[in-house]
Amino acid sequence: MQHHYPLPNQHPQVTAQLEQGVLTLRLGTDLAPLALDVPAIELLNQLFWQVAQDPQVRVLVLRSQGKHFGLGLDIQDMESQYAQQPSRVHQALYTLRQWGNGQLRRMPQAVLALIQGQCVGAAITLVQGCDIALSEHGAQFSFTAADAHWLALEPAAQPRADWLSARALHFHCVSGQAASGLEAERMGLVTFSYPEESLDQALSDLVTSLREKDPLALQFTKETLAHVGSMSWDAAVSYTAAKFAEIKARQADSPSTRASAIAGFLAGKNKPGLSG
């Protein structure tokens, strides 16, 4: 059953619906693609913190209400806000930087983006922050955007090379050429690209799989992904030992997916996820 999810504030470009543990944030309106103004950034940030504390939400999906994922920043709003409250604009840009910099990947839930149509400038930063991103083949990712001036105020808010091939990123930034969904998949900006008609089914399959995961295992896996890359091999071993002990301790007092899955596997009753 689908129901509206309470937002910390109202904004015409953000709606949220929760259905069977999957919170879908729709950005933009039927007629106007998302253009991130300062209130929208503030609202989304409050919402991300709220969702991170909400055990009802197992998967968070970011997608557009209309045909385009997002056109980047709302330049008019940024200019008028900057004239009155420059520090508020800086804070909003800092927030944007945090999304791309790991805030979304540190949320306990899986965070997905589904990209259709145009995805420009600051909207790419949002995509980069997600764990898994699916796009249609015909999506257009534009790195050289009207909001580049504003993103330059917080350089780390710009699309970054740690989640996509640096060679490809520089080409698209220098040439100004947009990348298609297929190219975005090749450069690592999105996980998979699909024909338009298959996109919703691919998303549905993915969220069904993700919402069935043990929430604690998902959270700890995300933490492991966030941290071990920069560790030495020996530190990664110690980290794993600590995480294994913690997950066992926290699952100990209640029936866990882990215990039942392992028992079923050893008894030959099931092979979770091993069918391909």
Binding site: R105, A110, D131, I132, A133, D162, W163, L164, S165, G188, L189, V190, T191, L206, S209, L210, K213, D214, L216, A217, L218, F220, T221, K222, T224, L225, V228, G229, M231, W233, D234, A236, V237, Y239, T240, K243, F244, I247, K248, Q251, S256, T257, R258, A259, S260, A261, I262, A263, F265, L266, P272, G273, L274, G276
Partner: protein, 208 residues
């Protein structure tokens, strides 16, 4: 647990040999791997190593029965096996003086993935399936496995594999950088051929 074959000039073949368990790495196999790789460090006559699986699968990863909740092993034995695993996975594999070539078919999962990352070339059968299924068991992939996959593939690929627990086919593994080549036939002959080319060059260089 291991089928070791040094009959090819300058090459050691290491066959994971526990077909009934899809070559899952249990206590005996992990101890054997540590011993085998320790010995290889001092074999100047061997220039290449080829890993492969016996019985249609490369490896289903770490043995659930031995290393997870239901282990019937005593604590000391299990601790020794865990230490051995970290030793060969985190250090010995990466410090081998030989080039490493790996042939995979069937399952190549979880704890077997660090072998791929330490390999100079990985030849995969087109029906091979790779993945990190730990989360399907309500568990967390080991940091060493995550680190290994992160060194081969993009963050996008790593996140997908670790969070979904879904298996990918050999062609997807090729696109994501987990394997070097996909073949329609047994991948072992090609891995052996590459290892042979390297071993011949290395022995010529050694002789000069």
């Amino acid at each position: 647990m291991l089928r070791i074959d040094d009959s090819h000039q300058g090459i050691r073949l290491i066959g994971l040999d526990r077909a009934a368990k899809r070559n899952a790495i249990g206590v005996e196999m992990t101890l054997a791997l540590e011993a085998c790789l320790m010995q290889l460090r001092h074999r100047a006559d061997l220039h290449a190593v080829v890993f492969h699986g016996i019985g249609g699968h490369f490896s289903a990863g770490m043995d659930l029965k031995d290393f997870f909740d239901s282990s019937s092993r005593n604590a000391d034995e299990l601790q020794r096996a865990r230490n051995a695993t970290e030793h060969w996975r985190c250090h010995l594999l990466r410090e081998l003086p030989q080039r490493v070539f790996t042939a995979i078919e069937g399952y190549c999962l979880g704890g077997a993935l660090p072998i791929l990352q330490a390999s100079d070339a990985v030849i995969a059968h087109d029906q091979a399936k790779l993945g990190m299924p730990e989360i399907n068991f309500g568990f967390v992939p080991g940091g060493q496995i995550v680190k290994s996959v992160g060194l081969m593939a993009s963050n996008r690929a790593l996140s997908y594999l670790a969070l979904t627990g879904k298996l990918i086919d050999a062609e997807q593994a090729l696109r994501w950088g987990l394997v070097s080549k996909v073949v329609a036939q047994d991948p072992l002959p090609m891995a052996l051929e590459l290892a042979g080319q390297w071993a011949r060059q290395a022995s010529l260089t050694q002789a000069q």
